[in-house]
């Protein structure tokens, strides 16, 4: 049975936090750091924050973004995200010194990470897994997959995490091994499934579906972090539903991290 009570906490009201640094790391990919000690203090891997656009824009709904890194000493919160539309574009354009209104940390994050776990990241889905790996600091392997090298853009410095071995793979072979995340995962598991503790994954739905299937076949606990369009971010509006074996659940509150076996994938 899966527990919904992993890591929710009181988050109070949205507040403005100053932008420390905002860097375009590649076309369409942004690394945004804010001074947000109140959020950093409480955040656990897998949780997210809501970012509120400034008033009087055509886009007003807050955007949910996974927490990528936390620096407890400096109180800094870093997000790594892909610009998907006008809403995320607003935050990609935010300048250092400006203020962004945030609410968080929100949602139910990852459970404790066992040694020798496999982290499977598809594209920008690497964001919550970097936080997970850094917080756990245990020997683990991380598959980092994308279609092409141009999308494998997570800064190398952010991937230097104690105990973590990063295995890159691209579908066109432009960097790392040629193939998909699940090709590589499947090969690792076929060689010796018993040596791995669990699977943690975030990325596009088709990839998560394949990862969930592999985890089930090999009998490994598998946790996936889902993405959905949200409005409230706090479990009230029921806008971010995901179909599970126990009915619709809220990605923002019951998730975004779910045990893979409860999620129903349609396609």
């Amino acid at each position: 049975m899966w527990s919904l009570k992993r890591s929710q906490c009181r988050t109070g009201r949205p507040q403005g936090y100053p932008v420390v640094e905002n860097r375009i790391v590649a076309p369409g990919f942004t690394r945004l750091t804010l001074l947000a000690p109140a959020i950093v203090q409480k955040a656990v891997p897998g949780q997210f924050v809501m970012l509120y656009p400034p008033p009087n824009r055509q886009q007003q709904l807050p955007r949910p973004l996974s927490i990528f890194k936390v620096d407890h000493k400096r109180g800094e919160l870093t997000l790594f995200f892909q610009v998907r539309g006008e809403g995320t574009g607003i935050f990609a354009d935010a300048e250092a010194g400006s203020t962004i209104k945030l609410l968080g940390p929100l949602g139910t994050g990852f459970p404790a990470l066992p040694e020798n776990s496999l982290l499977v990241a598809g594209g920008v889905g690497i964001a919550p897994l970097v936080f997970l790996a850094a917080a756990a600091a245990k020997p683990c392997s991380m598959i980092y997959a994308a279609c092409t090298a141009a999308q494998l853009v997570c800064p190398a410095a952010d991937l230097k995490i104690s105990g973590i071995t990063v295995l890159e793979t691209t579908e066109d072979g432009s960097r790392g091994e040629k193939g998909t995340a699940t090709n590589l995962l499947s090969r690792l598991l076929s060689a010796d499934a018993d040596r791995y503790g669990a699977i943690f994954s975030c990325g596009p739905r088709p990839m998560l579906k394949a990862v969930a299937n592999l985890g089930r076949l090999k009998g490994l606990p598998t946790w996936i972090s889902l993405e959905e369009r949200m409005a409230c971010g706090i479990g009230a509006c029921l806008g971010c539903a995901v179909a599970t074996r126990e009915g619709y659940r809220r990605v923002c509150y019951d998730g975004p991290v779910f045990p893979a076996e409860v999620v129903i994938f349609f396609d």
Binding site: R10, T11, G12, R13, P14, Y52, P53, P55, Q58, Q59, Q60, L61, P62, G87, L103, E228, R229, M230, A231, C232, I234, G235, A236, C237, L238, G239, C240, A241, V242, A243, G247, Y248, Y253, F266
Partner: protein, 311 residues
């Protein structure tokens, strides 16, 4: 001048302020309790409650549009029994009055939910939802045909002495026909408008974006449409109106009151402005002081003066 009087009587329901939280965005309001001050709210309208649990629509359920939000949640809710046992006891300790939005697939279901809520302590009013555009059976079916509107309101009226609001749909040729049917069946007040039916297409998947194909549009984009319908309805019925549709400031709220609303509700804007009820409260009070208005009721429908069709 003395402190402006913002109390209103909405169809027998006395409210400390004319600002309500509309049914939907804030759910049953529990999650928002720590996130905004309910001090400025006269009442909270709890998200639709049905007799049995309803599962809701397949995702995706919402998307943002230009100054608006398109949603098709599908009235997901845990049902009357769960609401009475789990949710209501926690809501009644909050300050604002509690109005419960009710939904059903049949006239009998609406009546049973109304009866269940009336027997329970802590419910201050009922809002009949006959206008949700996202439910094929029930919901809007009752809101587009004046005979069915009459039947469902009449059946609920027989079950309850609580103040009874009827929430009207904008997705009709003439909203005043439905308004008159609801009034004739015994409604104490009318809420308008619900969301405007719409859709979006995802050009990558080449499929409708929402899991339900169609959804309802809310937010600032719909304000002029809502205001016109409040205006028209104010000229057609005698019972008070609760105006809503894209309100995101005190200026917006004042327009609805001047169009003929007794009170106003905010919905979509609460997603991004948790201070909005307080801002509207202050804005209304300031306007009244500046313009020497003693009671908010003095502004109700004032924009109709000189209009040929206003009595």
């Amino acid at each position: 001048m003395t402190k402006p009087d913002l109390q209103v009587n909405l169809g027998g329901l006395w409210l400390s302020t004319p600002i309500l939280a509309a049914s939907g965005p804030i759910g049953n309001s529990q999650q928002y309790r720590e996130r905004f001050s309910t001090r400025a709210l006269g009442a909270i309208i709890v998200k639709g409650v049905s007799l049995e649990p309803w599962p809701g629509n397949p995702p995706p359920r919402l998307a943002e549009t230009a100054s608006g939000v398109l949603n098709a949640i599908g009235l997901q809710n845990p049902g009357l029994k769960h609401f009475l046992e789990q949710d209501l006891p926690q809501l009644t300790s909050a300050g604002p009055r509690i109005i419960v939005n009710i939904v059903g697939r049949t006239v009998e279901e609406y009546a049973q939910v109304a009866a269940g809520l009336t027997g329970a302590g802590g419910v201050d009013g009922i809002e009949i939802n006959i206008s949700c555009p996202n439910i094929k059976a029930g919901g809007i079916a009752f809101g587009t045909d004046p005979d069915q509107t009459y039947q469902v309101v009449k059946a609920v009226r027989r079950q309850t002495s609580l103040p009874l609001l009827v929430k009207l749909s904008p997705n009709v040729a003439d909203v005043t026909v439905l308004a008159k049917a609801a009034e004739a069946a015994g409604a104490d007040a009318l809420s308008l408008i619900n969301t405007i039916a719409g859709m979006l297409i995802d050009i990558e998947t080449r499929r409708p974006l929402l899991g339900n194909t169609f959804g309802g549009l809310s937010g600032r984009a719909i304000l002029p449409v809502a205001l016109k319908m409040v205006w028209q309805t104010a000229e057609a019925v005698k019972i008070p109106l609760l105006g809503m549709g894209g309100i995101s400031s005190a200026r917006d709220a004042l327009q609805f009151i001047m169009a003929g609303a007794r009170a106003v509700a905010v919905g979509t804007a609460l997603f991004y402005n948790h201070e909005l009820p307080d801002e509207i409260y202050r804005g209304l009070a300031d306007y009244m002081v500046e313009h020497n208005v003693a009671a908010l009721g003095d502004l109700e429908g004032i924009a109709h003066k000189g209009d040929d069709y206003y009595e």
